[in-house]
């Protein structure tokens, strides 16, 4: 995983070893750009960067989770160059169902699919993330684990903590997604075109010796604070 990750043009596929810049990657890129445009129009998303700038350094964007479209909306609100190296972490049972979702998650977002039903001891999601991102990709994670049903931000699962413990150099960027729970609530299939607001907050890190509960609380507060701003 070393050779050509700085290939000019920033094609997503060129970063994956064993892949050449082929027509397939081109197509996935174009699909991605179109999809991002559609997603931004449909969600009417306004994007705010609060004490934070878009950057290609390795980051973990962690957001509240209320709808299946969250990953897509956060991903598409990033600038194209950053989008190319940012991969959502998503549930395998949802994103590998059917050819369309499989294509989107596999080729366009290059999502890291987590098997929620079967978590093995030596192949934890955190292992997978650390292996997959190597030293260049950023992640979009939803530490609540599942979608919350209301506008409130649920308690965070500990995965974020273990990820940071092994990679304390990763920049953690809190993201708040406003209104998505009204656009596509749990259990609904058809979206209602309300306006969303995506807020990116100031980066944070896991402090040396910070306890798990303390850290998760701090991270959750960072997301909740963005709602008030």
């Amino acid at each position: 995983m070393s050779a050509n990750h700085l290939a000019p043009g920033g094609f997503a596929g060129s970063r994956i070893p064993g892949y050449d810049k082929s027509a397939m990657d081109m197509e996935a890129n174009i699909t991605g750009a179109i999809l991002a445009l559609i997603a931004r129009f449909l969600s009417g998303a306004s994007v705010r960067w609060i004490d934070c700038q878009p950057d290609t350094c390795q980051r973990v964007y962690f957001a509240n989770h209320t709808s299946h479209l969250d990953a897509l909306v956060v991903w598409s609100s990033l600038p194209a160059a950053i989008r190319a190296i940012t991969r959502p972490v998503a549930a395998k049972d949802y994103w590998s169902a059917g050819p369309v979702r499989r294509y989107l998650s596999g080729r366009v977002f290059r999502a890291l699919l987590i098997d929620r039903t079967e978590i093995k001891v030596h192949k934890t999601p955190v292992d997978l993330m650390i292996r997959e991102i190597a030293d260049r990709d950023s992640l979009i994670v939803f530490p609540e684990g599942g979608r919350s049903s209301g506008p409130d931000v649920g308690e965070f699962k500990s995965g974020l903590y273990y990820l940071c413990k092994r990679r304390p150099d990763l920049e953690l960027v809190p993201v708040h997604i406003d209104n998505m729970n009204r656009i596509l609530p749990r259990g609904e299939v058809l979206p209602v075109p309300l306006l969303t607001c995506i807020s990116f907050g100031p980066p944070m890190w896991l402090e040396a010796g910070e306890a798990k509960a303390e850290f998760l609380h701090r991270a959750r507060e960072a997301v909740k604070r963005l709602k008030e701003l």
């Binding site: 306004s46 209104n179 058809l190 075109p193 306006l195």
Partner: protein, 341 residues
């Protein structure tokens, strides 16, 4: 294009250019002498919105002139207003607290009732578009919400959805509906060739007057003598603004009578201008009340960068149905079109 339309377009263009020049001058002075920056900024945003609004309208009219030969001479303008209404409704409902139980009802509101209203306007079916939302959507929304089984603040929730649909979609759709009117042409009596031009001027006159009335009421309210109308809602709306604004808009409308010319006599232009000023005021005040209640300054504040479409069109929404009926009455002697096609 006939002389009157050209005159009207020229007048608007001159106004816009003058406003743009004034803005850039004010901006320079503001940075030099500590002139009220907020006022200049408000004005700048308004002028930009006007450019977009009038350029969009003019482009739509031109496309429609071309389409007129296929007997579809209002399609583009109707679609343009439909898109504006859709966006305004998005802003309205986004700021209105709804619950998951409202989801299905909202889906039909956005994807059935809002588009259908404008389709019916385009089809000139006054009998249908005048009842679709106040009757059928009115009955559908509470029934669909009730089926979700969520009864919390039931009446309040359905009323909010209904108001949004009525204000943003139903009322606004009366503006492009002006294009579908069958009115006698005062210039070339009996000639059907200029008929399209007449209704286009009617709509253009209407939009121009709502925007002028907004601007003039704001300008008059900056007088040193200030008697606030409703202090709990607005610190900018004063009696001076309302009276001065209404009077000057009426005068301006009368002065523009020759250019607008859908009306055969001058006092038609005067009375419709006065009504536009009063309804525009009512629209602005009502929307301010809603915004106050929701604790925001603009419908645009939630959606930074989108500028708040609803903030710009509130006066059009309120004035459109009243102007539609009044103009129709003055021109034909009937308050509303009779029959279908």
């Amino acid at each position: 294009m006939d002389t009157e339309t050209l005159g009207l377009v020229g007048f608007v263009l001159l106004l816009l250019i003058a406003a743009t020049v004034v803005v850039s001058l004010l901006k320079r002075r503001a940075s030099a002498s500590g002139f009220d920056l907020a006022v200049v900024e408000t004005f700048r945003v308004r002028v930009r919105a006007w450019w977009i609004l009038f350029t969009g309208l003019a482009a739509a009219f031109l496309c429609d002139q071309y389409l007129a030969q296929y007997r579809a001479g209002q399609t583009v303008t109707v679609v343009l207003f439909g898109l504006i209404a859709f966006w305004a409704l998005r802003e309205f409902i986004t700021l209105t607290p709804t619950r998951p139980g409202d989801h299905r009802a909202l889906f039909w509101v956005f994807f059935l009732f809002a588009p259908l209203q404008f389709v019916l306007v385009g089809m000139k079916r006054y009998d249908l578009y005048s009842t679709l939302i106040p009757v059928y959507a009115f009955l559908f929304i509470p029934a669909r919400v009730a089926m979700s089984g969520d009864t919390k603040r039931f009446l309040e929730r359905t009323a909010k959805i209904q108001s949004g649909l009525l204000i943003c979609v139903y009322c606004l759709s009366y503006a492009p509906a002006l294009l579908t009117l069958e009115i006698p042409d005062p210039i070339a009596a009996g000639a059907s060739a200029t008929k399209a031009g007449t209704t286009v001027r009617l709509l253009f006159f209407f939009v121009l007057m709502t925007q002028l009335s907004d601007a003039l009421q704001y300008a008059w309210s900056k007088l040193p003598s200030r008697h606030l109308l409703v202090p709990t809602i607005s610190q900018t709306r004063t009696w001076e603004g309302l009276l001065g604004g209404a009077a000057s808009v009426t005068l301006l409308g009368t002065a523009l009578w020759w250019f607008t010319r859908p009306f055969p006599v001058w006092w038609h232009a005067a009375s419709t201008s006065l009504v536009i000023a009063l309804m525009g005021f009512a629209g602005g005040l009502t929307m301010s009340a809603i915004k106050r209640d929701r604790g925001v300054r603009d419908f645009g504040t939630l959606v930074e960068g989108h500028g708040g479409v609803l903030d710009r069109i509130d006066s059009i929404c309120f004035a459109a149905p009243v102007f539609f009926h009044l103009a129709h009455f003055l021109l034909t002697g009937e308050v509303a079109p009779t029959g279908g096609r």
